[in-house]
Amino acid sequence: MIATLKARTTLWNVLVVASALGLFATLLYAWLAQTLYAHHDGDLQEEARRVLAALSSTADPIAALQLLDHQGTVAPFLMVRDAHGQMVFRSERLATVEPDIGAHEVLTHAAASGATSEQFFTVQLARGPVRFTCVPLTRPNGTYLQLGRALGDVGRMLEVVVVASAVLIPVVIVVTSFGGFLIAKRALRPIDTIATALESIQTTDLSRRVDLHAPDLEVRRLTASVNQLLDRLNTSFNTMKEFTADVSHQLQTPLTVMKGTIESARESQSADRQPVFATLSDEVNALSATLQDLRDLALADADSAGSREGPVSVSEVFAEAGELVGALAEAHGVSCHTTIEPGLEVWGNAVRLRQLMLNLGENAVEFTPPGGTIRIEAARNQDVIIATVSDTGTGISADLLPHVFDRHVHGRSQHSRAGSGLGLAIVKRIVDAHGGNVVITSQPGAGTTASITLPIANPASV
């Protein structure tokens, strides 16, 4: 979902900070509410005791309450209810402020449920929340004194906490996420650098190393490990290439002995045995050709990186190769048209570039039935040379197309000619070694087009 480590680290950072702040605000609110209510309830209890004390010494408690109410020395929320919740006494002041309080459900219920001890509860009245206590009275018997104090200050205080949290927490989160992003970016910068360096190190130049002098121990360790890995890769790649090249070279001598033996044996054989020896001879030739291709493949990178590199006139090389492909095409009854823009130059190895065009041409001829057409074209397009080899041949099926550059995959349907299947793999290596790109498109039954892009030698000159 979120692809970069940087973004994810930042996101986690924000989530942790948000949770911590949320928890902090919730705990603060709970603690503050608890403290404020306790304080408020203490006052309320004190006042209830005062009222009870005033009532205990009088014969007519209701009259005493009316007196207290008139004096205004108690809170306006002053009531007495019977066990059914019916109003027995109500403060004069309540009549105008809260005319409907008599029927209030919570207060009615509190009296009706027969509270036996001091209880505190909050009631939402028209003017705002009011904290009430409900105390049983002995006279008149079975009645309850209900005394309340508006929560005004407490409510406002808690409201301030909520509003402050709602405003400040997002601000803090925004600041933290920005800071977190910067930190993540800074912490991950060495990884970016190493990745960029590794991307530029292709299989063609495994001798290069990641050059990073970071002060951090972890990054230094990572760089060292990556470089050691590259060392080992480079060594084993070179060993493999040298081994392949050497073995394919060495095997040519026993093949010569085989070939010579077959030839001398052939001379003494009757005419009807000749095809057997012809087959043997052909197989030795095919084996030899495959060994040669293996060697070419192994040396495809090494060569172009070597001393034989320089400015190459692709126009001349491709024209020469195109002429040879034309002759080969003619031998197969296929026509070939070559259109090459003059003056095209790339930096590379002429022998390899010629081999590239010959392999593509040979491939095109091989899979184009007599009467077909091959076109070889090369032209400059801004800073690149685009060369195409297209044919009207059998084409490549869609399932094989992605694998044409793999070794030992015959680009097209199984074919009788003994080929090593390395031709297109060599093409790919050569193009890669020249910093280019090769794409093969095909329509089965209609033909195939190989497009090569090569960077021009000196883009500044026109």
Binding site: S264, R295, E330, V351
Partner: protein, 253 residues
């Protein structure tokens, strides 16, 4: 089909034998079986063959005994083929040298020719190919600085880059011209397709055989355009030879 092949090969061998009677060849090759095969083949060509398996021994023999041709493998114990070749040339020995090495290594080929070898043959090779090259080297004379090459009614001017067949001017492409010049410079001598490829195109390619056949056909068509008799003849399994029209009439179709 195969009968024709063997007859032609025999005819060529007899020609070679006559031309190079008692010629002495030194073969320096460490692979014993290959050396034996080469030796047998050269003996069949009526050549007198000496085989050495070691580099230093090969150089010693080459310096002490006179030879008409030396065949050197590149990879040898003791002293490699390039070193022997350079040493012989350093001592101003002009004996023709043919080097053998695994096929297709262009650097080796260039290196071999640079160190003074006259020809370079890559393994695995056909023995017909070896015969053709041995014959070419044994027959080699310092090419005279001729102004024009003439074979029968065919005249080629290397400087003016023009070709005449009888009274008729023949227009050739660059490669056709190079091919004809090579064939004319080696008149009556069988040239293998590999030799032609190396000389005319200066590199080898798997499919060069087909390409050379196409070029020979173009060349024949242009040379025989006015109904003249054929001069370039195929030698089955080996290559091509250019002969004067009159002489070739009865030998090949």
């Amino acid at each position: 089909m195969t009968g024709g092949l063997r007859k032609d090969a025999r005819v060529d061998d007899r020609d070679a034998g006559a031309a190079t009677h008692s010629a002495r060849v030194l073969v320096v090759e460490d692979e014993v079986r290959l050396a034996a095969l080469v030796s047998k083949h050269l003996t069949d060509m009526n050549l007198s063959v000496r085989v050495e398996h070691h580099g230093s021994a090969g150089l010693e023999v080459a310096l002490s005994d006179p030879f008409d041709l030396i065949i050197l493998d590149v990879v040898l114990p003791g002293l490699d083929g390039f070193a022997i070749c350079r040493e012989l040339r350093r001592r101003n020995m002009t004996v023709p040298i043919l080097m053998l090495s695994a096929r297709g290594v262009t650097e080796d080929r260039v290196r071999g020719l640079d160190s003074g070898a006259d020809d370079y043959l890559t393994k695995p090779f056909e023995f017909a190919e070896l015969s053709a090259r041995v014959r070419a080297l044994l027959r080699r004379q310092t090419p005279a600085a001729v102004l024009t090459l003439t074979v029968g009614d065919l005249v080629l001017d290397p400087v003016g880059r023009s070709v005449q067949r009888g009274p008729r001017r023949v227009d050739l492409t660059q490669k056709e011209f190079a091919l004809l010049e090579y064939l004319m410079r080696n008149v009556d001598q069988v040239l293998t397709r590999a030799m032609i490829g190396e000389r005319v195109w200066d590199f080898t390619w798997d499919r060069m055989t087909n390409v050379i056949d196409v070029y020979v056909n173009h060349l024949r068509r242009k040379l025989e355009d006015a109904g003249e008799p054929r001069m370039i003849h195929a030698v089955r399994g080996v290559g091509y030879v250019l002969r004067p029209a009159e002489a070739a009439d009865d030998r090949h179709t």
